[in-house]
Subunit: 198 residues, 2 copies
DNA sequence: ACAAACCAGACGACCGGTCGCATAATCGTG
DNA sequence: CACGATTATGCGACCGGTCGTCTGGTTTGT
């Protein structure tokens, strides 16, 4: 098999892996199920990945990339200041999750809860992904501070972390309440009030 | 077997169940493991519970009770106003989790993430538990509002939800960062700043 | 013809759940 | 009260299924 098509199959595995991990979690997702849907024989799995655990770690990185790109895109929109970019980004996310029926939530949050303290491999991947994501939000807030829309008596990093934590908690609530209301609430509380200049 | 000793064994099952569910999650915890540690034969499990799922639902209720009692206790301390009671309560939780090595986090949060959108039985239990817990925090904040320490331009319920969501998100961060810093940060951001009167 | 890559199937372990047998408790009868 | 018959209960062994992982025969490419 060519190196190209191998990478392509690996990509497909990760893509489907993200979907299933997001839908059912780590332990409830079988490798067989992932392999079947992308038509890759079970015996071949270990030519792509060392183990299920390492597969999940790669899936984590594969998952976060689009989110970073999308937030970056909003940040490069010259019409939006830092805070407005964040608002636009989260509005988009809320609209999307409403369409998909409140399923899944965030893979990062789900795996942090399920295996964040039992799989060191995944913990490292999660740490890295969260750090990159958090940094980007920090940048957005920093810009907002420079532009005068975001308060400066709290560090951008602290506000980014609060936003991220509140969002993760709201995603959990969304799951059980089957509603985007918690997501809207946290965005409103933080982006439309707490983060504003006094 | 007497009804009394049966209830006692059921209690033991729930106790150990909570411990293991908290430590490893729903799907990674086997009934056998729970039953072995409390010396109850596997065949007897279904005289206590209808299924693993229903067992988890009961474990959820069994888990949240002590937290409600503890927060209630702080609220009944006449020396503390509503906000101070919340601060004292969360300080206690942080101190405890630091001693236990950042393991587990919150059973409610973990199960919301793992099975909150796949097990309707557990979802109902989670909804109920979260509602009771959230209500109690709302009461604390309401009292703080009456006593003049908590801002009144936001509803106590909204602030209670924000606190709860931020706390859950911080617990996830704690797991992967192996540190109580996220917990302290969210408490400080909300209880020492955002919730204060302007 | 040979090496490398691939993959079917098997492996042992464990899952949640069931079932029939052994034991215990209750009852009927002398 | 004694004792066999009958019912109720407890539980170890087992069910079909799935798990993640490994191995060795087969295919592929050179």
């Amino acid at each position: 098999m060519t190196t190209d098509s191998k990478q392509l199959k690996k990509q497909k595995l990760l893509e489907q892996g993200v979907t299933l991990l997001l839908e059912k979690g780590y332990h409830a997702t079988g490798l067989k199920q992932i392999l079947d849907t992308v038509q890759i024989p079970k015996g071949s799995f270990y030519t792509y990945f060392d183990s299920k655990e390492q597969f999940a770690a790669e899936a984590i990185n594969h998952y976060i990339e689009p989110f970073i790109l999308r937030l970056s895109a909003h940040l490069q929109n010259p019409e939006l200041d830092g805070l407005a970019a964040l608002k636009a980004y989260y509005s988009e996310l809320i609209a999307e999750v409403a369409e998909t029926g409140f399923k899944g939530g965030c893979l990062l949050g789900n795996l942090m809860g399920e295996i964040g303290d039992t799989s060191s491999l995944c913990r490292d991947a999660l740490l890295n992904a969260v750090a990159r994501y958090s940094d980007l939000q920090k940048v957005a807030l920093q810009r907002g501070q420079q532009q005068g829309s975001v308060r400066v008596d709290r560090s951008a990093q602290a506000m980014a972390d609060l936003m991220l934590n509140g969002w993760q908690g709201a995603l959990l609530r969304m799951k059980v309440e089957q509603s985007v209301a918690p997501l809207q609430a946290v965005c409103q509380d933080l982006l439309d009030d707490y983060f504003l200049v006094r």
